[in-house]
Symmetry: C2
Subunit: 537 residues, 2 copies
């Protein structure tokens, strides 16, 4: 190559070095003083945020108003330094519109009140990254994958070295990865040749999921080239678990239609009611048909850490793969998902690296520790470290005790609500989710569902509590998810009083009571009735 | 339902409330005092970390030693409170093994030295989440998607309202989403019926990528059911860009083999040399064949923010979709990827929600703002807010100036190295990546590649600088990626001296010089020669 070749400078630009002044301003953004000031402001704000024991649900603001507020905060100062006041305004706007996971009023969704030290740790991993797919880039992160795998392996009852764990970003990605592993193992050549209708010569490839499966499990068939029409839905029993007998019949019927179910997906902790499918029976059913058994245990896989609750998910040990979300029920920041394979040798079959030019076949100590060939991500946040950090500082029993508390609290809520003549509970809780309805005597039976919706809207608008709603067999019911250790039985009792008060308001035609923030917003009941979110968490 | 039905308490367990003492300990983990102490410790550590202007590359430690260290930090204290000393030890271990993005010695990979205020903000989004797929859960996050889309739309030159932007977690996921959108739009029925060899009746569905495409683009064909064999590789020119004439010939040859390329993937900022494909020509080529044109602009899409550099990626305006990683070249924490669609109406075709039971067909103001139907994630970190925060506080010109500086610095490095008689540069840099070789007169031509590998190893082992290596046309060359505004021309000159010193050591048979941390580790040159990472970033 010609050493005299010079870099192409734009003709109109002065050469580098002659206009170094041009570059001075931007370095203010990286100054140590700016960091120190911002860290102090954020710490103070969060201190106040956590200290606040006020009862808050959610304060929904209209998007267009929020859009104006966000745009007003962008002044594009030319080379200005750090503006502490604007920064503080931005934090206030963020905290005002955030999910109130630390409040005793927030009972709507599977969002965790995180262990504060793990959120603090996120500042470290953001500033000094350990992109965790490769050993060189994420040394501690990759090693800690192994540490946490071993801890869970003991709890599952799997033999050391026989299984694998891959940390990844969300149960949607974990389930896609697992079904891809199933597809690549069982449908020979599907990675290389593509998916074909012939599959493994037993019929058209298909995937079976329960009627209450999360929407991300349904998407997988579309994404992986199997096709949505090749999803076999498995019927539920009265507890909203997959019914093994019904499932057998559904699989038989599917086979008769020419479908070859190569993967059965169970759920441990359904979004709607927290139901846990009969995992042992489903594992047997799947394996008898040479199908892979995956469990979406995003919500209740965490029961493994509790000596008392572990038995509820014992079938996980029989699954070919399962995932759990530590950012849900192990109380660390999102996204921290653990994907387990019972057989370590299939862990890198989802993304066969022999086909790629990237991964050297050489197998050394460091590459054995790194996860890049097993997870989808190239750059991956080292979120597993948040889980490990809390585990190291406070021990497994901290998770156990909080989970036991939440499950017991949900039981207590169940008993309290079941005792009220004007309420019905819909199920015995298997987890920390409880569905129920308020049925004051004045409500005609055919308006019961509408009342629940109206109650949900009014409770939300007031901004003190926040419940969600779900449709169960066509009926709208209220749903509480108890994720926060601050919530007590007294809070549940207060909530019931508030529900009765709102019902009286509806009966008497009184207007909606609006909370301080919601006051600024126009009426939104109709707009909020889309229910978009309610089946997701 | 029977109101007398009671919750199932485990027989062996005391009822809730009778053993409330059992639950006391775990609440220590959530105490305000613990938060305050942890936040203070982390702020102090990071202050020291950022203040340190020492020149460091990487300090690789053997996994088994690190595993022991990690396990020793787990004492599982039963109900113990926060142990500040252990927390501090964990932070030290993390920082010791992290990627040294803030050091002037780290020049190896596309990892950003982040704007500190955005890392601080991550503590807020971790503690008080705004899971960003749904408006109710991530109000500000969803609105800010729109704000940032508008900012970029103006820079791209797209008409307001005509395009869409989806924030997602990594370019791998963005590219998968975009190719899925292409597949679902062009291969009719592939979401519902599955992928078929018939495709759109023009041949077997195929995807075309450049010879230097990132491995994640190659994986997509396997994941989506197209098949790795249906990947058409497009040849490169001397600047390692896809050659449009060669590409045309390759597409013709593919068609003759019965392949129907429905998606062409270009790159703006290749991993190896930072090359930008001729996007305008490729867009024309793809569109003339009714194929979708996607650009993986993970690295150089950020050029849009610079008035001077924008012209280098002008073809992005013609792409059907492209993605850029703000966590690479806009200097915010990972993962913050922006996926753009030129035509807003195709943005929700990757995950057709009509097929799902989740999403209500009702189209209201809030659901128009939310991203859940357009992105893969169900729970999504609101990383877009980190980008917006920095943009709001410091303005677009901050990004522009840092990018201009890095690109100019790379040009200066090119000129400096090209001027040395004992070095060769491999290309004119189009970005902030430069490949070169050291060729002292005593090295035989057939050992030149081996020398670069040995130099890379020795430089890394010393721990002062860190370069990567890549294979270009079968030759091993050194590679620098300049991501850090602290690096100056003087640092490049010092690096060259260090390279010469290491080469002299090799020539004279002197042992490897090891840095303070690396001293603890056994020799690892061989283990590290896997090159696993080098094609990824």
């Amino acid at each position: 190559m010609d050493n005299a070749m010079l870099c192409l400078w734009p003709d109109q630009e002065p050469r580098f070095g002659t206009n170094i002044q041009h570059y001075v301003d931007f370095k203010k953004a990286f100054s140590l003083q700016t960091f120190a000031e911002a860290a102090r402001i954020v710490s103070d704000k969060l201190h106040g945020f956590l200290e606040d024991d006020g009862i808050q649900g959610v304060s929904l603001e209209p998007p267009l108003a929020l859009l104006s507020a966000a745009r007003e905060l962008m002044a594009e100062p030319e080379g200005a330094g750090f503006n502490a006041e604007r920064f503080s305004d931005i934090l206030d706007l963020y905290l005002r519109t955030t999910v109130k996971v630390h409040s005793r009023g927030y009972m709507a969704r599977q969002f965790s009140s995180v262990v504060p030290v793990s959120a603090v740790f996120d500042m470290i991993t953001a500033m000094a990254p350990q992109p965790a797919s490769y050993y060189e880039a994420g040394q501690l992160a990759n090693v800690v994958d192994r540490v946490m795998a071993d801890e869970f392996g003991r709890l599952i009852g799997w033999k050391d070295g026989s299984f694998a764990m891959v940390s990844t970003s969300g149960a949607s990605l974990a389930t896609m990865t697992a079904v891809l592993a199933a597809r690549n193992s069982l449908l020979d050549g599907s990675w290389e040749d593509g998916v074909s209708a012939e599959g493994r010569g037993r019929g058209r490839p298909a995937v079976a999921v329960g009627e209450d499966a999360h929407f991300s499990a349904l998407r997988v068939a579309g994404i992986l080239g199997i096709g949505q029409k090749q999803i076999v839905r498995l019927p539920l029993n009265a507890r909203r678990q997959i019914d093994p007998e019904g499932a057998r019949a559904a699989l038989d019927a599917a086979a008769a239609r020419g479908l070859d179910v190569f993967c059965v997906i169970g759920t441990a902790g359904s979004t709607s009611v927290g139901a846990i499918d009969p995992l042992v029976a489903l594992a047997e059913l799947a394996h008898a048909r040479d199908a892979w058994f995956h469990v979406d245990a995003a919500h209740n896989g965490a029961f493994l850490v509790s000596d008392r609750l572990r038995a509820r998910v014992e079938g996980l040990a029989l699954a070919d793969s399962f995932c759990l979300d530590a950012h849900k029920t192990l109380f660390v920041p999102g996204l921290c998902t653990l994907l387990f394979y019972r057989d370590a040798s299939v862990a890198d079959i989802a993304f066969p690296h022999k086909a790629s030019y990237v991964f050297d076949p050489e197998d050394d100590e460091m590459s054995r520790f790194q996860s890049g060939t097993k997870n989808f991500e190239c750059t991956k946040r080292p979120s597993i470290l948040n889980l490990w950090l809390v585990w190291a500082l406070f021990g497994r029993r901290m998770f156990e005790q909080k989970l036991d508390y939440l499950v017991d609290l949900t039981c207590a809520a169940h008993d309290l609500i079941a005792d009220q003549p004007d309420f019905d509970v819909m199920h015995q809780p298997e987890s920390n989710i409880l569905c129920f309805v308020h049925k004051p005597p004045w409500v005609p039976a055919d308006r019961l569902g509408h009342l629940q919706l109206e109650l949900r809207d009014r409770i939300r608008a007031e901004g003190r509590y926040f419940l969600s709603k779900v449709e169960l067999d066509g009926s709208t019911v209220l749903r509480m998810v108890l994720m926060n250790q601050r919530i007590t039985q007294a809070d549940i009792a207060e909530l019931l009083k508030a529900i009765r008060r709102h019902a009286d308001d509806i009966r008497d035609g009184r207007p909606v009571v609006r909370g301080s923030h919601a006051v600024k917003a126009p009426p939104m009941e109709d707009a909020l009735r889309t229910g978009t979110l309610d089946e997701a968490w």
